[in-house]
């Protein structure tokens, strides 16, 4: 069907408005725009809606895909999904643009004589299977590996795991999540003793304060953020945005505190200083669940090539930790972090 440029441009403009309204709604639930502004916005039409997962981030929103003549043409949040309850963010709403992207790979390509040649998928899969078998026959089962995606669905991950670990018998199964989550795993293990993010959705329903520490949730994870906003509006829970720049999260929060880049660890120490010196320590929790270790306070730039990490943590006791914090009084830290003494004390009091 021919679409004039005028109509196309008008349609895109309306999409831009819809995106902004969606973003606004995830920041300010219940926000209302004048009715006349929503007039003539594209409607869903007579579409066949199919269920699916959104793959843009780890929140796990359910989506409904509007299909017209076998082609995906629209997206909306699945109201029956317990994760997003019908909400979607701007990223989710634009998934169709990825599916219909001109440069998207839509068929198998096999390199023949140095050039990629379009090949039937069954033939391409046979080539992969034969090559894997040939390699395993010659070099053993650990000579092959599968590298998958953090955007895989749980069923896809299950099938990949079954194939590599169950059928082939190798642990050589990895995905791009290694690059972003490996550091998080190390952090979780050393801080909390277990490789899992702490907390769950139910915690959000009971929390009195949320501190988004260097985390622009209003733009990065808007659907999850909307759960916090719901608690803010319904129960009066407080959101404090602690970041290096002002973002949409700052605007949606009760309080925005800015810090100079690379100084937030010092602010954390100043908060601990305040907690200890005001006698607010939960001694029983500290005695039963906390280990104190000391390492270098300046380890240089640890991400450079061939960096040799030589620092070893040394166990210390609570009193030594308290002495260490003498360098992190709110007054000292305020000077280089840009966070006022009043705000450091405010964070400590929470």
């Amino acid at each position: 069907m021919y679409t004039s440029l005028t109509n196309r441009r008008s349609f895109i403009k309306k999409m831009a408005i819809m995106s902004a309204m969606t973003a606004a709604a995830t920041m300010f639930p219940g926000i209302i725009f004048a009715d006349e502004q929503e007039r003539d916005l594209p409607n869903g039409g007579d579409l066949d809606w199919k269920k699916g997962p959104c793959r843009f981030c780890g929140v796990g929103c359910g989506v409904l895909i509007g299909v017209d003549k076998g082609k995906a043409v629209a997206v909306k949040g699945d109201p029956n999904s317990s994760v997003n309850k019908g909400l979607l963010c701007v990223k989710g709403y634009h998934q169709i643009m990825c599916i219909q992207a001109e440069d998207r790979l839509t068929h198998a390509l096999v390199k023949k004589n140095g050039k990629y040649v379009q090949t039937p998928i069954s033939e391409a899969l046979d080539i992969v299977a034969n090559k894997m078998k040939e390699t395993m026959d010659t070099h053993g089962k650990d000579s092959v590996a599968m590298y998958t995606s953090g955007q895989s669905t749980i069923p896809e991950g299950y099938v990949a795991s079954k194939l590599m670990k169950g059928a082939i018998g190798t642990n050589n199964l990895d995905c791009n999540a290694r690059l972003c989550m490996a550091s998080a795993v190390t952090g979780f293990l050393t801080s909390f003793g277990a490789d899992e993010p702490m907390g769950c959705y139910e915690d959000i329903d009971h929390a009195d304060y949320f501190i988004t520490w260097g985390n622009n949730m209003a733009e990065m994870h808007p659907v999850l953020f909307s759960r916090m906003l719901e608690q803010k509006n319904r129960r009066g829970a407080k959101i404090i945005d602690f970041a290096t720049r002002t973002t949409r999260s700052s605007m949606a929060s009760n309080k925005s505190i800015l810090f100079e880049p690379q100084t937030d660890l010092a602010v954390a120490n100043a908060i601990c200083y305040e907690i200890i010196n005001n006698g607010w320590v939960n001694k029983s929790f500290v005695e039963n669940h906390v280990n104190f270790n000391k390492g270098l306070t300046d380890m240089g730039y640890g991400l450079e090539d061939n960096y040799a990490f030589e620092d070893k943590p040394t166990p210390i006791d609570f009193e030594a930790y308290k002495d260490f914090l003498e360098d992190y009084t709110p007054e000292k830290v305020s000077k280089y972090s840009g966070v006022s003494v009043k705000d450091i004390k405010y964070l400590a009091e929470i």
Partner: protein
């Protein structure tokens, strides 16, 4: 031919002032929220240079606290 949408947050108590200032700009459509201090701004310009100039004009408005882009499209000019 860029089309972009933004969320514009006004300085405290300056929503009407920001609305008026944005409305005066050409290639700029403004949709104010009725119950929150927030405005949607949609810019529709002829080329990248015009788009950049318009963004600079918007950001120079004193009653604007934060301008956050939501979406951006590059599409052929209308007939």
């Amino acid at each position: 031919m860029p089309i972009k949408s933004y969320l514009a947050h006004p300085q405290d108590g300056k929503k009407a002032e920001l609305h008026a200032a944005l409305t005066n700009l050409s290639h700029c459509e403004v949709i104010p929220a009725e119950n929150e201090d927030l405005l949607i701004v949609v810019t529709d310009t002829n080329d990248i240079s015009e788009d950049k100039n318009l963004k600079e004009q918007i950001e120079s408005i004193a009653s604007l606290k934060l301008l956050a882009m939501v979406s951006g499209f590059d599409t052929p000019k209308s007939n």
